[in-house]
């Protein structure tokens, strides 16, 4: 545990990629397999399920520190991080941490779940008393399920590759799927001799880079080096058919079981040893893709009723073939994979399994013209793929590009502000924006991101000096600042006062040139609603 806490400190105190990797390599070299397995689990973003309610942790910490609850809350609001606040207020005793990471997780922490409150309290406060602050901090992060340390899975993969001498691609592949943090898993991960591909195991997804909204795709090179498809807003998925079994993986590397029964039924027609990459989309029988709002009705629904299946049928739109006859096709050029995909799909006839359409063009301008129809088709724009490129792991620059249509933008007035969390816990950085409805400002979107640090400070200062009312942590401010907000999507909603729900709102710029009176109206916003989705969403 001590070693792991030190690793955390090292990773947390540097922004340099190489320093992070070498800290992890060093750790993997020193930790035993059981510990290393748990470390990978946490470093790649997996969490323990919440072990103890935070409300109790706060209460116990205040009592251990011998301070009243209000003072604990003041401290928390100043620090902005629960685990850190607790590890700072509870007096430190000069004791050494003992026990391995595995012992801590399996024997001391996981057993907390399901214990009664008194037993939990005894164990937790003993942990605080027996460990130095920096170790307590990491343990608390594990207990509260808030462990985050600024390394991506990709970085962990690179460190493991360096540690084991196995290529990053193989490590990435082995890390995918239901990787369990056991010593066997770790040894398998770093064993050069293992040729056993688990049936369910997906390939790492190839990710696209965005073409800036103002830049020109001409700069990518000759248009004939590329192929174009629609960019859909659905669920990216990998459809695997091996050993007479079907697996559907999301891009978040989550195995989606029984979520898309019609897709699974279609996949049964695929020959064994086939892996498709594609997009799951709500699609009408006539092939028209429905807006994301419709698909959303099926997401996060554990049991999908017949009614919903009929109302929102989904189709797997395949755009790549990664494995055929149990052979990895990823090194082949896109064109070759596409040809094989076409051939395969012509043999599999099922309405829930389609191949994407390629968009023909004679020059870049043709695609630019087609792209303007994106919104009507409920598409986000175009995908451009290099025809001669292999299927890359992760976000490698240059092979896949997303050329999105411009997002919706609206000029809105800042009316409420709240302090952020973590790094921004001292700044008013979470805002609510409003648009005009007659002579009233109606709140319609919340945005957290998009301003530079110096702009954030300026807004923060404005909020402090122009608060008209405070209710709880929220400050109501003079309606003066106007910001341009961009959205990926808008949909009608009865749950929102404005009648509109926004998707991925963000601040694109501060309109210093505009006063509150110049902001947009609710009618302007309603005009942006896609016609087919207005009024029919729950």
């Amino acid at each position: 545990m001590k070693l792991f806490a030190e690793l955390y400190q090292l990773l947390d105190s540097t922004t340099r990629t190489n320093a992070k990797i070498s800290a992890m390599v060093d750790y993997f070299g020193r930790a035993d397999a059981a510990d290393a397995a748990w470390a990978i689990h946490f470093l790649s973003g997996q969490k323990l399920r919440r072990l103890v309610p935070t409300k109790l942790l706060r209460q116990w910490a205040a009592e251990e520190a011998d301070i009243p609850p209000w003072l604990f809350e003041e401290s928390y609001s100043s620090v902005g991080d629960l685990a850190e606040t607790i590890s700072l207020v509870v007096p430190e005793q000069q004791l050494e941490t003992t026990g391995s990471l595995r012992e801590w997780v399996e024997d001391r922490l996981q057993v907390l779940r399901g214990m009664d409150e008194e037993a939990q309290r005894k164990i937790v406060t003993d942990i605080w008393r027996q460990n130095p602050a920096h170790v307590r901090f990491v343990i608390l992060k594990l207990i509260t399920g808030a462990f985050r340390v600024g390394v991506s899975k990709r970085l962990v993969t690179r460190a493991l590759a360096e540690h084991s001498g196995i290529s990053a691609e193989v490590i990435a592949h082995r890390l995918m799927g239901t990787w369990t943090p056991t010593p066997e898993s770790f040894l398998r991960l770093s064993n050069p001799d293992i040729g056993d591909a688990v049936a369910s195991q997906p390939y790492p997804f190839c990710l696209a880079h965005a073409i800036d909204r103002d830049s020109n795709p001409n700069e990518l090179g000759n248009f004939s080096d590329f192929a174009a498809e629609w960019k859909w807003d659905g669920i990216r998925g990998q459809l695997i058919r091996r050993n007479s079994q079907t697996f559907v993986w999301s891009r978040g590397e989550e195995l989606m079981e029984n979520r898309w029964p019609e897709v699974e039924a279609a996949a049964a027609l695929l020959p064994s040893g086939t892996v498709l990459d594609g997009e799951i989309l709500a699609t009408q029988a006539d092939g028209i893709v429905l807006p994301f709002a419709q698909l959303q009705r099926r997401i996060n629904r554990k049991n999908i009723g017949r009614k919903l299946l009929l109302e929102v049928p989904v189709v797997f739109h395949a755009f790549d073939l990664l494995e055929q006859d149990e052979k990895d096709l990823r090194p082949l050029p896109w064109q070759e994979r596409r040809n094989r995909l076409q051939q395969l799909m012509s043999q599999v006839q099922h309405p829930q399994l389609k191949i994407t359409d390629l968009i023909p063009a004679e020059c870049w301008e043709d695609w630019a013209k087609t792209r303007t129809q994106s919104r009507e088709r409920h598409s986000e724009g175009l995908m451009l793929k290099r025809v001669d490129a292999a299927y890359d792991v992760g976000r490698v620059r240059g092979t896949w590009w997303k050329w999105k249509v411009e997002p919706y933008t609206i000029d809105a007035v800042l009316i409420y502000a709240q302090k952020g969390h973590g790094k921004r816990s001292n700044l008013f950085s979470d805002y609510t924006f409003a648009v005009w409805k007659g002579d009233q400002l109606v709140p319609f979107a919340k945005a957290y991101s998009g301003l530079s640090n110096s702009e954030l400070r300026k807004v923060d200062r404005f909020v402090r000096q122009n608060t008209t009312e405070a209710f709880g942590p929220v400050r109501s401010v003079q309606p003066e600042l106007v910001m341009e907000l961009a959205f990926e999507g808008l949909q009608a909603s009865t749950r929102h006062k404005s009648g509109i729900a926004t998707r991925f709102p963000r601040i694109t710029r501060w309109r210093h040139d505009k006063g509150a009176k110049d902001a947009n109206t609710l009618d302007d916003v309603l005009d942006l609603l896609p016609k087919s989705s207005s009024g029919d969403t729950p």
Binding site: D12, S13, T14, T15, A65, I67, P68, W70, L71, F72, E74, S75, S78, V79, G80, D81, E84, T85, L88, V89, P91, E92, G422, K423, S425, N426, L427, D460, R461, R464, Q465, T467
Partner: protein, 345 residues
């Protein structure tokens, strides 16, 4: 009996003696707790301060200013009020101001800390009726680590950087903090260079008789100077500026009480943060109040409301004072502005 001190828009004022303590605007007679610029301000006609702060104050203040200095413990009568200075432990020459008039005693701590400091005399408790205390770090999350372990960590960091052929750049407030750091450095590790503002502070310290290891102004270094392995003590505002380029490969660190919290530590992207403060932390603030055992506590500079409320919970008469020249919202800015350079550290 009524209080000797009042809070006015110029700072603390004693009507009986007709003088101000650490006024924020020019006054006729200013009693100054220490040489930091937010306490010793320009423009007043006469200044009274503790003797060990003489070199520092003359260095920082206008040559026209009229100074009077008193030794720690020496009493000066002003309008019948017995005024004396007592060590505050904050930096060289820092003092608590003790006022006594007809049996009533009031003490203004200025900035202060408990415990030892190689570059100044340690704080002493003064029994009083009214204690005016600062509260820069008045939250229970602030508990300073033992300073010997902090200096050991700083020296180890310097050694490690030397091994890696890097120049160590350590930031601290130009006067006070920097000299305390320098006194804790191990000159066996390598040469110590200082930013101009720091080097000026070093001279004033040496003139006052404080022993510091040898240091050199960075501007006086040879053109061919190899900076790898050297220590450069600089002001925080130099961080991220082209001034750093000359040192080649560097590792940067900040020494400040704010470094106790991860947010400020990460926000300014120093390679390291060392928790070293010249202000009282939470336990020592409470210990100081108990040792002085005043009837009333006025809380200024920092987490005033929190500290006052806590003391009241504990049965002591405590009042939170917001500084006159700062609006309540500015007070919050001060908390938010944890970057260290504007702080009186």
């Amino acid at each position: 009996m009524s209080e000797l001190l009042q809070q006015t828009n110029r700072g603390f004022y004693c009507p009986q003696g007709d003088f101000h303590i650490d006024p924020h605007r020019p006054v006729d007679r200013a009693v100054v707790t220490h040489a930091h610029t937010d306490h010793a301000r320009w423009g007043s006609r006469r200044y009274l301060a503790a003797s060990p702060s003489e070199h520092l104050l003359r260095m920082r203040m206008s040559p026209e200013a009229e100074f009077q200095f008193a030794d720690y413990g020496q009493t000066i009568s002003i309008g019948g009020v017995a005024v004396s200075f007592h060590p505050a432990g904050h930096m060289l020459g820092s003092a608590q101001v003790r006022l006594e008039y007809r049996g009533r005693v009031e003490v203004v701590t200025g900035d202060y800390k408990l415990g030892s400091d190689a570059t100044c005399q340690s704080w002493q408790p003064l029994r009083c009726h009214l204690l005016v205390t600062e509260s820069t770090f008045g939250l229970p999350v602030y508990r300073w680590p033992d300073q010997q372990s902090v200096f050991a960590a700083i020296n180890q960091w310097w050694r490690d950087n030397r091994e890696r052929e890097q120049c160590s750049v350590l930031y601290g407030y130009a006067v006070g903090k920097s000299q305390r750091i320098i006194a804790g450095l191990d000159p066996e590790i390598g040469p110590i260079y200082c930013h101009g503002a720091v080097e000026k502070g070093n001279e004033a310290y040496r003139q006052t008789g404080v022993h510091l290891p040898p240091t050199m102004h960075t501007a006086k270094a040879e053109k061919s100077q190899r900076w790898a392995g050297a220590m450069v003590v600089a002001v925080p505002s130099a961080h991220g500026t082209p001034w750093l380029k000359r040192f080649g490969k560097t590792s940067t660190a900040m020494a400040s009480g704010w470094m106790a919290i991860r947010g400020p530590r990460r926000r300014r992207s120093f390679d390291r943060g060392f928790v070293l403060s010249d202000h009282v932390d939470w336990p020592s603030l409470l210990a100081a109040v108990d040792a002085c055992d005043p009837e009333t506590v006025w809380v200024t500079h920092g987490y005033t409301a929190v500290v006052a409320r806590y003391l009241k919970d504990k049965g002591r008469n405590a009042i939170s004072l917001d500084r006159w020249q700062r609006s309540a919202s500015d007070q919050e800015d001060r908390e938010a502005d944890t970057n260290g350079e504007e702080q009186s550290e």
